[in-house]
Amino acid sequence: MVKLKPGIFDIEDLENVKIEIKEIMGEKMPEEEWAPMGPTPKPKIPDLRYWDRILLKRYPPFYAPQCDTCILCTMGKCDLTGNKRGACGISLEAMQGRIVLLACLAGCSAHAAHGRHMLHDIEHMKGELDKIPIDFGTEINVEAPLTRLITGIKPKTVADLKEVFSYIEENIVQLGDALHTGQEGSALDFESKAYQMGMLDSLGKEAADIAQIAAFNFPIGPDRPLLDVGMGTLDTNKAVILVIGHNAPPATNICDYIQDHNLEDEVDIGGVCCTALDSSRYSTIVKLASSLGRQLRVIRAGLVDCIVVDEQCIRADIIEQAQKVGTPVIFANDKKMHNLEIRDGDDPDEIVKDLVSGNVPGVVLLDPLNVGEVAVKVAQQIKPIRRKKGWILSDEEFKKQVEACTNCGNCTIACPNGIRIGDGHKLAAEGDSSLLASQFDICIGCGRCEQVCPQNIPIVSTMIKAAWPLIQEEKGKIRQARGPIFDTEIRTVGAPLVLGTIPGIIAPIGCGNYPNGTKDVYTIAKEFGDRGYIVCLTGCMLIDTGLYKDEDGKTLFETHPDVFDKGGIINVGSCVSNAHIHDAAIKVANIFAQRNIRGNYAEIADYILNRVGACGVAWGAMSQKAASIAAGFNRLGVPAVVGPHSIKYRRSFLGRKDKEEDWYVYDARNGERVYVGPVPEHLLVVAETIEECIPLTAKLCMRAADTPAGRSIKLTHYIDLNQKYLGDYPDDWHLFVRSEADLPIAKRTELLQKLEAEQGWKIDWKSKKIVEGPKVYYNPSFDPTNIKDLIRTKKE
């Protein structure tokens, strides 16, 4: 290598010279001026605090402690009940905020570290990052809305994402610092920090997903092919490999190995959770065996010959569980190594031998390029050995086990869903397994019951046996993940969304810790898809939605269009892909409303809060990632409804519709303070049942800027869904009526009568107009904002 001295060089006569400029030292290369920089590029902790305070004033945190003590430092344990402060001076309320921030720290770190890890893998597998363009074709100009919005960077190659991750990593450390004893003491500032963490989380997800789309050529856009989903789709005539986790590069290497060696007829690959979703974007040979809720059951049913895990949401006792059914495990990520040997340098055949012979229960292979060969060979060689044994309980064994049950109830007390397993066993002992079989779906597969059974009954296995006929028939369909929403789709739906004629974007996302089984997620998606909402699914809720079929044997992905448009039910992708749902809302502001998004977070969040009727539904939210995802959605002005187990996150953000003073905004045209009603009423709210969740979600799609046509449609759905699921009108529907134009024409007379009789509003019956009553402001050119600085002409 020749080092050049500073100066001017004449290189005209040189031949075969390749000059590479990696980075310009000293001064950085100025970025192309693609848009004026907004006020908060790469915001630090205090920069968006003013926006957080606007949100937290309207939606203050509601805390439900899961533990009334603290033992984070050695001055504890501190009893924080009854307004007592800890030895460090912290209150129980602030302590809840602290725990929430801690959860968001873990969640955000998981996404960001996954993204950073992937950059390393991509460099290793695909070559230099600056040679991999971020170019998603002619349908997408705004390639990375969150990145542009938060950092002000317009990434051109995957290498540009390094700077994005550096920004995230520095800020995670700063926020993590605030968790130390003797730092933050205010619950509200902990929440502002949790919002900051949530925002970083959204950014990390986006960067991770666009990196993998660009590097692995994941297909994007509508009309994706259908994929198999469900435990029944695994073909045990072949050797079966199961991939579990979230970081797909090792799984892509398995796909390559199978396809390069034409082994599709001999080896089946299925997946659990997001690795399944992401590797199926790489190759459609991957089946989606199950969501997280079935992880233990897929393993314990003995369907799998080799398990490959990467990171996040994988059972910590995976070796012990896999050992029960003779399945070796390959650990392909340094976040999770279970005290096993790292075998990357070894001869693959030696590793295979060790795993097949049972010399070792598992190995660590950190180079994704080493995983495919070992996994495939292990699965192929162990298959004949494993097939000699039956892993599902025999009829006699099952009978023996269920008859041993004394119905003592220990398992029920251990069970997160309080399942009456003893009753199921009792009936099964009498020859009727139907109750036990039905409990299979309500079970979240945690395995706690087994550990407390005094009779040592393998409850997970008895349930699998009872449900085995159903499991074999569990064969659904979902679309392959589509990733980002096209700019062209946003142009089509921008106006209907902001005007309300498409009543909202519903985002069922997150994990499988449901209160009452997987069918609920299908019901939620179907209800909103049928009503013309755009339903954007990601993660485990997505996988479970595909399990159910209508009378014609069709899943929702076959009956509803695969487009981001009215009535579409789409697979956006894995957990990191749900950044594209944030992105869709940002693009509405950018492409449809022509707002500058560069480094302009608060203005865009304010736009979304007041105009874009989007609402998340995380019915089975379980992980810390789900906590940071929700915080990221909330800070961007998108509310979310969570299932009842989510009370254990300890915090929700609730508005008070009875406090009129909370619902004033500015009209940006003139600075007038106007009452807009409770829209959206809550930012993060726990629902108890889906009958409650569904109308509530519809309600949370109403926005201050809804046009009368849009509001009447949203109101119709809200009332209708209340009647359908709760049997009556909601008691607050009048709060959303600004004038008679907000009332659906078909029901106008009936609704006016109710307003007159129940609310004492004055109606002019000749013209069917409301003369007196509604308090809510609306004007066709109304420009609502919660941010004073966005007022254009201040009132004197």
Partner: protein, 175 residues
Amino acid sequence: MAELKMLPFDAGNIPGPKMGRVTAPKIIGKMIKRAKKPLLICGSNIEEHGSIDKAIEIGKKGIPIAASGNAIVAFRNKGYMDNVKYVLLNDLANCLRDPEWKGLDGKGNYDTVIFIGSLYYLTSGILASLKNFVPHIKALAIDPYYQPNADMTFGDIWRKKDEYLAMLDEVIGEL
């Protein structure tokens, strides 16, 4: 069996130094009777154990009912809607913590809330909030479970439906 009775239905649900007192039904009944403004909060499991009929009996004694989740449907099916209102439990609890809240009847906040038909873990979280941040309200739990975050609670009796219903009758007897 007092010890057994303090067993939470979620075995790990041990919140800390302040745990709900297992209380005899008669005393709970007297507490409700003495309350200036009680509210019976019925959850989505109200049809389990036959609790709904007992809740209606309590309602008939003049105690207003808040029905959360889909419990309102159960009351409507029973033809009893006299003093029953739908609530979202998370939202209701948020209002309860404000002493200035006007209540479901517009006449002010409550001084005693009684939980029945609860989704156990959800209500446990809500009770933790009331216990720690809402000193102006007494929270009682009359489900067949031990609720560690309630001020006063029934013990662990879910395996014995008849005994449980008899306990509810004792409560009602005091009203």
